[in-house]
C-alpha cells in the first residue's frame, strides 16, 4: 500500500522532480561524491591506481601533518586571522553604517558609499597587483615615500611580521564597503517612529545611536558574527594565495589551512597529507558550526541558523 502511494506521489510530482534534477545531480557529483573521497586521507594516493586501489596507510597522513608542526601553525594562523578580520571589519562596518545613516548630505553619502563598495568588485588578482605596486622593493610607493623622507627602504616581502597587518588591512579594504551596505540596509529598515519619539524626548544624536540604532542592529550583527564564527576554520584562499603567493619566507606568519592544502596538493604532490589536512579542516568546521548553533539555540533560539 505504502509503496503504491510513493509511486503515485512520484508520478504526481514528476515535473517538479525533473526540475530539481539538474541541481540534485550537480550537488551529488561535486559535493557528495568528494565526501566519499575522504578515504583518501587514510591512503597513500597513487594517481595511476585511483582513489580505491591506492594502498591504505591508516593514520600516517595525519601523523605526518601533526608531527611536522604544520598543523598547529596553520590552524593558529587560520583562526587568528579570521578573528582579526571579524573584529576589525565588523567594527568598521557598523561605525561607517551608523555615520552614513545619520549624514544628511545626500550626494556625499551616495558617492562615499559607491567608492567604499568599489573594492568588492575586483578580484584578488587585482588586489595582489595593487599590493605589489605599494610594497615592491625597487619601485613601490612605500619605499618611494620612505626615501623621500630620508629613511631606509624596507623589503616588506621579507618581513613576515608586517604581513599580519597588511593582510588585515587588505581584507578590510576589500570587504568593509560591502558589510557597510548590509548594515546600512538594516538601519534603514528601523522604524522611523522610534527616532521621532526620541527626538521629542530630547535625545541627542549619540543617545539615539546608542539606544536605538545599535540595539536594532544587534540581530543582524549576531547572525553575521555567528556565520563568521562557523567558518573560522575556513580561510580566505584568494586573499592569502594572491598576496603572499609562494613566498616561503612569509609562510610562518601567513600560511593558513587552505593555502597549505593547496600547496601540498598542487606543488609538493603530498596528496595524502593534503587530503588529511582538508578532512581535518572539514571536521573542525562542522564541529564549530554545530557547537555555535547549539549554544545560540539555547540562549536565543530566534538567532539559530538551523
Amino acid at each position: 500500500m505504502k509503496n503504491n502511494s510513493i509511486v503515485k506521489s512520484i508520478s504526481k510530482n514528476k515535473t517538479l522532480l525533473l526540475m530539481l534534477m539538474p541541481a540534485v545531480i550537480h550537488v551529488f557529483i561535486f559535493s557528495y561524491l568528494p565526501m566519499g573521497g575522504i578515504v583518501m586521507a587514510f591512503k597513500q594516493f597513487k594517481y595511476q591506481l585511483g582513489i580505491f586501489k591506492s594502498p591504505w596507510v591508516g593514520f600516517n597522513n595525519f601523523r605526518f601533518f601533526f608531527l611536522s608542526g604544520q598543523a598547529i601553525t596553520v590552524t593558529r594562523n587560520t583562526i587568528l586571522y579570521n578573528l582579526a578580520f571579524l573584529v576589525v571589519n565588523t567594527s568598521l562596518e557598523v561605525i561607517f553604517a551608523v555615520i552614513l545613516s545619520e549624514i544628511s548630505a545626500k550626494h556625499f553619502k551616495k558617492i562615499a558609499q559607491s567608492i567604499m563598495f568599489l573594492p568588492h568588485f575586483v578580484s584578488w588578482v587585482i588586489v595582489a597587483s595593487i599590493a605589489y605596486n605599494i610594497f615592491n622593493y625597487e619601485t613601490g610607493v612605500l619605499n618611494n615615500l620612505l626615501i623621500s623622507l630620508g629613511l631606509e627602504p624596507v623589503n616588506i616581502y621579507a618581513k613576515p611580521a608586517a604581513w599580519k597587518y597588511i593582510l588585515v588591512a587588505f581584507k578590510a579594504w576589500k570587504s568593509v564597503g560591502y558589510g557597510t551596505v548590509v548594515y546600512l540596509a538594516s538601519i534603514v529598515s528601523i522604524d522611523n517612529e522610534l527616532y521621532e519619539a526620541a527626538e521629542i524626548d530630547g535625545a541627542n544624536i549619540f543617545q539615539r545611536i546608542r539606544h536605538i540604532t545599535i540595539p536594532c542592529l544587534v540581530p543582524t550583527m549576531t547572525i553575521l558574527i555567528l556565520l563568521a564564527i562557523g567558518q573560522v576554520f575556513r580561510g580566505d584562499f584568494g586573499l592569502f594565495y594572491q598576496l603572499v603567493g609562494n613566498n616561503g619566507l612569509l609562510f610562518d606568519a601567513t600560511d593558513i589551512i587552505d593555502t597549505f592544502v593547496f600547496r601540498s596538493l598542487m606543488q609538493s604532490s603530498e596528496v595524502g597529507m593534503a587530503a588529511a589536512a582538508g578532512l581535518y579542516q572539514s571536521i573542525m568546521c562542522f564541529i564549530t558550526i554545530m557547537i555555535t548553533n547549539y549554544i545560540v539555540k539555547k540562549v536565543q533560539s530566534d538567532y539559530a541558523l538551523f
Partner: protein, 296 residues
C-alpha cells in the same frame, strides 16, 4: 531632520563622521588611481622614481606594447566573456528553478531536498577529493567546461531564490495549474517574469564571480588558449616568464621590456569593464544585499 539651528551634538557628530568616511573612501579609491596613473607613466620614469599616485610623464607606451600582440589578451577576453555568459545564464536558471520547487507548499519532499542542499554548506569532502574527482574521473583537465560547470549550483543562490519566491502568492501557480499549465510552464511563463529583481541580483553576483575567477583556471587549465583574463593577469604578475613569451612572440629585447608599466596597463584592461559597468549595476547589488537581509 535639517533644523536650522544645528545643535552641538550634530556638529560634533559631523566633525567626527565626515572625515572618517572621507578617509576610508579615499583609501578605497587611491589604489585604482595609482594603477591607472602608473599605466600611463613611462617605464623609465617608474624604474627611476618608482610608482606614484599622480601620473607624471604621460606615456601610452605600455598600452601600445600590451596591445601590440593582442591575440592572447583578446582570446582571454573571449574565454572570459563566454564563460561568464554561459555560466551565468545556466547557473541562474538552475538555481532559480531549484529554489522555486523547494518553496512549493504542495511538493511533498521539499524538506528532504532542502536538507540535501543545505548539508553541503555544513560539511564538505575538501579540496583534494574534489580535485581528484574532477581531474581523474570527470576529465575536466584542460576542458572548457572546467571553467564554469563545477560552480554552476550555488546553495546560497538557491536559498535566496527560495526565500524570494515564497513571497509570490501560491494562488498564481494554483490557478495556472487549474487552467492546465504544467509546472515547468508555470515557472518559465509566470514565475520568471515575477522574479526579475531576484534574477537581476543573483545574475549580477554570479556574473561578477565568473568574471573575477582565476581559481578554476589555475586548478584545471594548462592550455594557454583557455586562460581567463584574471588568470592571464595572475600569470603575468606572478612570473616574468609569461611576459617573455609574449615578448618573444613580438620579437622584442627582454631587458628593455616595460614590465612595470605593462603590468599596470594589463590590470587596467582586465578591470576596465567592471569599473565601467559599476555605476550602472551598483544599485542592483545594493538591492540584492537588502533582499538577502530581509530573508535573514
Amino acid at each position: 531632520m535639517s533644523s536650522k539651528n544645528k545643535s552641538y551634538d550634530k556638529v560634533i557628530f559631523n566633525i567626527i563622521g565626515y572625515p572618517l568616511i572621507s578617509i576610508f573612501a579615499i583609501f578605497c579609491l587611491i589604489p585604482f588611481v595609482m594603477i591607472i596613473s602608473s599605466s600611463f607613466t613611462s617605464e623609465e620614469y617608474i624604474i627611476k622614481y618608482g610608482y606614484s599616485i599622480i601620473p607624471r610623464q604621460f606615456s601610452l607606451e605600455s598600452y601600445r606594447l600590451t596591445l601590440q600582440n593582442p591575440v592572447a589578451i583578446l582570446r582571454a577576453y573571449g574565454v572570459t566573456i563566454l564563460v561568464t555568459v554561459i555560466g551565468t545564464a545556466l547557473g541562474v536558471f538552475i538555481n532559480a528553478m531549484t529554489g522555486y520547487v523547494l518553496q512549493r507548499k504542495d511538493f511533498r519532499w521539499r524538506n528532504i531536498f532542502s536538507f540535501y542542499f543545505f548539508f553541503t554548506t555544513l560539511f564538505s569532502g575538501g579540496l583534494v577529493p574534489w580535485y581528484i574527482l574532477c581531474v581523474k574521473y570527470l576529465h575536466l583537465k584542460d576542458s572548457f567546461f572546467a571553467l564554469f560547470v563545477p560552480s554552476l549550483v550555488s546553495v546560497w543562490n538557491i536559498l535566496l531564490s527560495k526565500g524570494f519566491m515564497k513571497g509570490i502568492p501560491f494562488e498564481i501557480t494554483e490557478s495556472a495549474k487549474i487552467d492546465g499549465a504544467g509546472d515547468f510552464t508555470v515557472f518559465c511563463k509566470l514565475i520568471i517574469p515575477l522574479s526579475k529583481p531576484l534574477l537581476a541580483t543573483i545574475g549580477l553576483f554570479t556574473a561578477l564571480s565568473y568574471w573575477n575567477d582565476w581559481f578554476y583556471c589555475m586548478m584545471f587549465i594548462s592550455n594557454e588558449k583557455l586562460y581567463t583574463l584574471q588568470y592571464f593577469l595572475h600569470r603575468l604578475l606572478a612570473s616574468v616568464r609569461a611576459i617573455r613569451t609574449i615578448m618573444e612572440q613580438s620579437g622584442m629585447d627582454i631587458p628593455t621590456l616595460p614590465v612595470e608599466s605593462m603590468k599596470m596597463s594589463l590590470t587596467v584592461i582586465v578591470t576596465g569593464p567592471i569599473i565601467f559597468l559599476y555605476p550602472f549595476v551598483q544599485k542592483y547589488f545594493v538591492k540584492g544585499l537588502t533582499l538577502g537581509a530581509v530573508k535573514g
